[in-house]
């Protein structure tokens, strides 16, 4: 079974860390990941930029672009994509294509990545 693990925290705390504090946390997380890395069982990992860098595309026939993160209400996180784009515009276009292809009422949040490792997972 493959699992995705999501990290939740207070961004005003995490983004308030000094470089030294942040490096220490990353080093500590790397130690925790080691077992899975060595067995080739760790998939992609990413750190996101703050929610202030996010844009949301709401599903509709003509999808609506809204500044800011997707504010969690009744919907649940169901999945994610990682894409490489030349511009925010291109990322929003992709999200709009996804939004048009769905007949439900959710949203896609477009959030730039701070850090990305492709990982070693096959399949």
């Amino acid at each position: 079974m493959q699992y995705a693990i999501f990290c939740y925290d207070h961004e005003e705390v995490v983004f308030g860390w000094t470089k030294e504090q942040d490096d220490a946390v990353i080093a500590s997380l790397d130690r925790a990941k080691k077992k899975f890395v060595e067995k080739g069982r760790l998939g992609p990992t990413a750190r996101l930029m703050p929610t202030t860098a996010a844009t949301t595309v709401r599903k509709a026939k003509e999808p609506i672009v809204i500044d800011g993160p997707f504010a969690e209400t009744k919907e649940q996180l169901l999945g994610f994509y990682v894409i490489d784009c030349d511009s925010l515009e291109q990322a929003i276009e992709f999200a709009k294509d996804l939004a048009r292809s769905s007949n439900s009422a959710g949203s896609y949040e477009v959030r730039p990545l701070r850090l990305f490792h492709a990982g070693s997972l096959e399949r």
């Binding site: 500590s28 703050p50 929610t51 202030t52 800011g68």
Partner: protein, 432 residues
């Protein structure tokens, strides 16, 4: 992180929660002193309880709730007869803690925080008082830290802050939710003060550099907060982008002696890539609104520098265009001066010099004007005139770092006259 919570986490959580908690308490008690005192009590309780019981999910809500109770207790102790909320609403801090506080404050907290910021940045206060007040009240820096940053004694800073508080108390900023135009006005005033705060931390070279960097960090934190409150406001996206892109160079712009390192001489490997990436992401968002303002255009200029792997790769033609746009938005001789630096790279020093000569009377006491003029003259091989301009710049330098910076130019000048000329590019076009 490791199990339990450490001091750094606790400190950041308290500081992160401060604007929301303090502004909610201010709404509740109606007076800055009472709100501050209640917040202080709540922090003491947090320091005692969080390490033992684990941190609450919503630190701000916890602090608001505990602060309200302690404030009410204090009022009781002083024997003031007031209509107080029923005991059942206040006494249980169990599971309902965060939901109660949220119900009380969430609807208003955006305007509450804006109000608190607006009080600190009240147009009636001089700029230095605005910044000191915001650093003390909203960011929670100690009087001692702020005094160190501004190179004044602790008692003088204490006085400045107290005077500021008294003045805003007399200004009677109403508690009612503001209308849309008023809200926009407040946001503009607050954004301007946050930018001043950033420049105070970023530009000045006197004082304790550690505290100064912290002040620039605080300004960035405040504009992140503003953008969370007003997520679709392009001017705040531009402001935050601008500050991140400039601050990304912090480690490269001063040498070991604390002297300014020119943009062209900076070690770009020291630039903070995370800040650059975030700054550019925010600029992309702002641009989509098609409402350029000075913050956004300055951010676009900074982004051009950030994108260039080496100084030689800088897209000066693009930067020249952006300065033209900036001149259109905020005409000023200083902006023209900056445009001229870009012009000199694109079309040569002769045209650039033509552009700045008419500014001489307006910028007759401006350090950078003579630095730039000297650099242009140097490139044109007019060495004696270049020296006169550099001497004037040194006379106008406000800090040793500025003077050293010009002396380096003069050293180059001396070298130029000794050997064959390789025109140097001279000066930073924006505060490096």
């Amino acid at each position: 992180v490791s199990e339990g919570i450490d001091g750094a986490w606790l400190d950041m959580a308290l500081r992160g929660a401060r604007p929301r908690a303090l502004s909610a308490l201010l709404r509740y008690f109606g007076q800055l002193d009472a709100a501050e005192e209640a917040f202080q009590e709540a922090c003491l309780a947090a320091i005692e309880k969080w390490p033992k019981n684990g941190p609450p999910r919503d630190p701000a809500a916890w602090l608001i709730f505990v602060g309200r109770n302690s404030g009410i207790d204090a009022a009781r102790r002083r024997g003031k007869e007031k209509e107080l909320p029923g005991e059942e609403q206040l006494s249980d801090l169990g599971d309902t803690e965060s939901s109660t506080a949220e119900r009380l404050d969430d609807a208003h907290y955006r305007d509450d925080i804006l109000r608190l910021l607006f009080i600190c940045c009240h147009p009636e206060l001089p700029a230095t008082q605005q910044i000191a007040l915001a650093l003390r009240l909203v960011c929670g820096l100690s009087v001692e830290q702020i005094a160190r940053a501004f190179l004044v004694s602790e008692s003088a800073m204490e006085q400045r802050i107290t005077r500021g508080k008294n003045r805003v108390a007399e200004a009677h900023v109403p508690f009612e939710a503001p209308g849309a135009p008023e809200r926009a006005e407040r946001l503009t005033a607050v954004a301007a003060a946050v930018y001043l705060m950033f420049n105070e931390g970023y530009s000045a070279t006197g004082g304790d550099s550690h505290v100064r960097i912290q002040i620039a960090d605080e300004a960035i934190r405040l504009s992140r907060l503003l953008l969370r409150l007003f997520p679709d406001e392009p001017s705040i996206m531009g402001l935050l982008s601008l500050m991140l892109l400039h601050h990304s160079r912090a480690a490269a712009r001063l040498d070991a002696q604390g002297n300014i390192v020119l943009l062209e001489d900076q070690d770009r490997a020291l630039w903070n890539r995370d800040m650059i990436a975030e700054g550019i992401a925010l600029l992309d968002k702002a641009v989509r609104h098609d409402r350029p303002d000075p913050y956004q255009v300055q951010a676009a200029i900074a982004a051009q520098h950030a994108r260039a792997p080496r100084f030689e790769d800088t897209d000066w033609a693009r930067i020249e265009k952006l300065y033209l746009v900036l001149e259109g938005l905020t005409p000023s001789p200083v902006v023209t001066l900056n445009r001229a630096v870009a012009t000199s790279k694109v079309r040569g020093a002769a045209e650039a010099l033509e552009l700045i000569l008419p500014l001489a009377s307006q910028l007759s006491s401006y350090f950078y004007f003579f630095g730039v003029k000297g650099a242009f003259l140097l490139q044109l091989g007019r060495l004696a005139e270049a020296r006169t301009a550099f001497d004037r710049a040194i006379a106008l330098a406000k800090s040793p770092a500025e003077a050293v910076h010009i002396r380096l130019q003069i050293d180059r000048l001396t070298k130029e006259s000794d050997s064959s000329c390789r025109p140097t590019s001279g000066f930073p076009n924006d505060p490096c």
